[in-house]
């Protein structure tokens, strides 16, 4: 699976976009311009970007509470995302959903979810739809290590396996689910090892290496497209920030651990490759960063310029016509 220079630059740019978007989101949240709750994707950019690199626009993804990265990697519009975070009428959900419920069915992003593990059954249904449609569309379900502790993980893996559905279970193992350390919560070292219980391949992947992620995901996608059924991919990664941007939940992770993982910055690692392989110069990277920053800036301006929903808009969309 050769990777051309252009594609690598594209992946890099997507990762930087997520990083800048999330930095800005945290800032806006701290400044109280964004209400509610926000879970930052910073540190995990390689997973969303590497996985979605192998997807087509008509493939579908299901996301979780830490979903901004998934949206951006699948091609969501930063403006409508930011507008949703700002609770504006122009947001993806017209201000009804917010960070935990962004969805864009037009690009096959079937929604974030505030309930741990709840996206898994829904993704299985989307994969069944893909199979019944008869094409070769696939589905990716993103979820955290915490979600593997819920019963829905078990039921969904099992169902996808017996029905041989075209789905990739993308577990982002960032070692913690809020205050819960995976090491204390499950008796196995690798989530991927649990795939055996569902007779599906389980692969441990360095989730901070976008090229590794891309390679592993592409393999799983090829399996799924070829009708060979689901795969469980476990991406070892780390979130740089607290569980949420809201500070009420204590961050019980050892500071040295956080530092170690920051050394493994997924963006820094691509930059090294880009430099080593003479694909981009530092200056060109700065240019990309500049472009990304203005895109994020535009998204914020768009959100700020957008109207808030009318109070009575609360009453619509409870039911579809």
């Amino acid at each position: 699976m050769p990777l051309d220079r252009e594609e690598l630059v594209h992946l890099y740019q997507q990762m930087v976009t997520i990083r800048r978007f999330e930095e800005r989101t945290s800032e806006e949240f701290q400044g109280r311009a964004i209400p509610g709750i926000v879970h930052s994707y910073i540190g995990q950019e390689a997973v969303a970007v590497g996985v979605c690199a192998g997807l087509r626009r008509d493939d579908r993804i299901v996301s979780n509470h830490r979903g901004h990265g998934h949206c951006i990697a699948k091609g969501a519009d930063l403006k409508r995302m930011m507008a949703e975070l700002y609770g504006r009428k122009t947001g993806y959900c017209q201000g009804k959903g917010g960070s935990m419920h962004i969805a864009d069915f037009g690009i096959g992003m079937l929604g974030a979810n505030g309930i741990v593990g709840a996206g898994l059954p829904i993704s299985v249904g989307a994969a069944l739809a893909a199979k019944l449609e008869g094409g070769d569309r696939v589905v990716v379900c993103f979820f955290g290590d915490g979600a593997t502790q819920e019963g829905t993980f078990h039921e969904s893996m099992n169902l996808a396996s017996i029905w041989k559905l075209p789905i990739i279970f993308a577990c982002e193992n960032n070692l913690y689910g809020s205050t819960v350390s995976l090491r204390e919560a499950v008796p196995v070292t690798d989530v991927a090892s649990r795939a055996a219980a569902y007779a599906m391949p389980g692969v441990v992947v360095d989730g901070n290496d976008v090229l590794e992620v891309r390679r592993a995901a592409a393999e799983a996608v090829a399996r799924a497209r070829g009708g060979a059924g689901p795969t469980l991919l476990e991406f070892k990664t780390y979130r740089w920030r607290g569980h949420t941007e809201f500070r009420a939940i204590p961050d019980n992770r050892p500071p040295e651990e956080v530092e170690t993982w920051k050394q493994r910055c997924p963006i820094g690692r691509v930059e090294q490759v880009l430099l080593q392989e003479d694909i981009l110069t530092r200056h060109q990277m700065d240019e990309i960063d500049g472009r990304v920053r203005s895109l994020v800036e535009e998204a914020v301006s768009f959100a700020l310029a957008s109207p808030l929903p009318a109070p009575e808009d609360a009453l619509s969309d409870v039911y579809s016509p």
Binding site: R60, V62, G91, Y92, C93, Q94, G95, K96, G97, H101, A103, D104, F105, G106, L110, G111, N113, G114, I115, A118, L120, P121, I122, S123, V124, G125, A126, A127, L128, A129, A130, L132, E133, G151, T152, E155, S156, N158, L159, I162, S316, D317, V318, Y319, S320, P321
Partner: protein, 318 residues
């Protein structure tokens, strides 16, 4: 006219809709044999005993353009999949700002009376009435069973179909051919002038026979069957009470926060209807106990004609 059982009427609705619309999919741990035979195992899917997974899968299917019917068996099995029902299927349309439709039917059986004890004899529709985003049908006749189920399948929202298990073999007239019963339209099962009895599911039949009995005493009951709990036909209920001035609500479920509480409240809160109320409202429901196993105790907690008649006499001050 042709007579069908409740169960036959439901099956006919399914078969006809499955013929009409290739996007319909059935999921159940034990799908009905005739459906499986006609439409095959791709569309009529036997699932593992994994309700959360297949209820959630229904939501995923619906979001991708299918029209699933998920049959959970008994209502009590909803509780292992509640999140998928109330936090996902119910809220997803709204949370996503209406950008996608989720046409799903969830079928479950309700009701007591068969000595199945507390877990298996529950009628928990009111719990789901408190969750906006779900529609709820609760048919009392084979005619409504078919017509409401067809409406539910064609509706673009998640609809819970609560089907009373003691009525599966009850027969009733069902016309040949396609018809629907719209969601949100109550049926006046019997007109009368003295007391309005709003009754649910199997209790409609109990209320009707009480109406027969009391006619001899010169008491005229109007029996109203809401047929759907969400949307609930408030206007029909209020209009009947405004006319009779007296209300008895009969439901087999526990009283507290039940559908009967809601019906009492919507009458008591409407200034016009309230101004016509001549007596306090009565609820005839199960007491707040889990349903017991042994027949004498079970019979004691399920509302019956004696209790309904007593409540009617009560609101008439007799």
């Amino acid at each position: 006219m042709r007579e069908l059982t409740f169960a036959e009427a439901a099956l006919e609705a399914l078969v006809e809709e499955f013929r009409r619309d290739g996007k319909t999919i059935y999921m159940s741990t034990g799908p009905p044999a005739p459906l499986l035979e006609e439409f095959g195992p791709e569309r009529v899917r036997a699932t593992p005993i994994s309700e959360s997974a297949f209820v959630g899968a229904a939501t995923g299917l619906a979001g991708c353009g299918f029209r699933p019917v998920a049959d959970l068996g008994m209502a009590t099995f909803m509780f292992v999949a509640t999140d998928q029902l109330v936090n996902q299927a119910a809220k997803i349309t709204y949370m996503f700002g209406g950008q996608a439709r989720f046409p799903i039917v969830f079928r479950v059986s309700v009701g007591a009376g068969r000595s199945l004890a507390a877990q298996h004899s529950i009628s928990p529709y009111s719990m789901f009435m408190n969750i906006p985003g779900l529609k709820i049908i609760l048919p009392s006749t084979p005619y409504d069973m078919k017509g409401l189920l067809v409406s539910a399948i064609r509706d673009n929202n998640p609809v819970l179909s609560f089907e009373h298990m003691a009525m599966g073999r009850v027969k009733g007239e069902v016309p040949e051919g396609d018809y629907t019963v719209p969601l949100g339209q109550a049926r006046v099962a019997r007109e009368g002038g003295d007391v309005t009895v709003v009754a649910l599911a199997r209790m409609v039949h109990e209320a009707l026979s009480v109406a027969d009995e009391l006619q001899g005493e010169g008491i005229s009951l109007e029996v109203v069957d809401p047929r759907t709990l969400v949307p609930l036909d408030k206007e029909a209920i209020r209009a009947s009470v405004a006319k009779t001035g007296r209300l008895v609500v009969v439901d087999e479920a526990c009283a507290t926060c039940g559908a009967a509480a809601e019906i009492a409240a919507l009458v008591a809160e409407d200034p016009h209807t309230f101004s016509h109320l001549k007596a306090s409202i009565r609820r005839v429901c199960a007491p707040d106990v889990p349903i017991p196993y042994s027949p004498p105790m079970e019979a004691y907690v399920i509302p019956d004609k004696v209790r309904i008649a007593a409540a009617v006499r009560g609101v008439l001050g007799r």
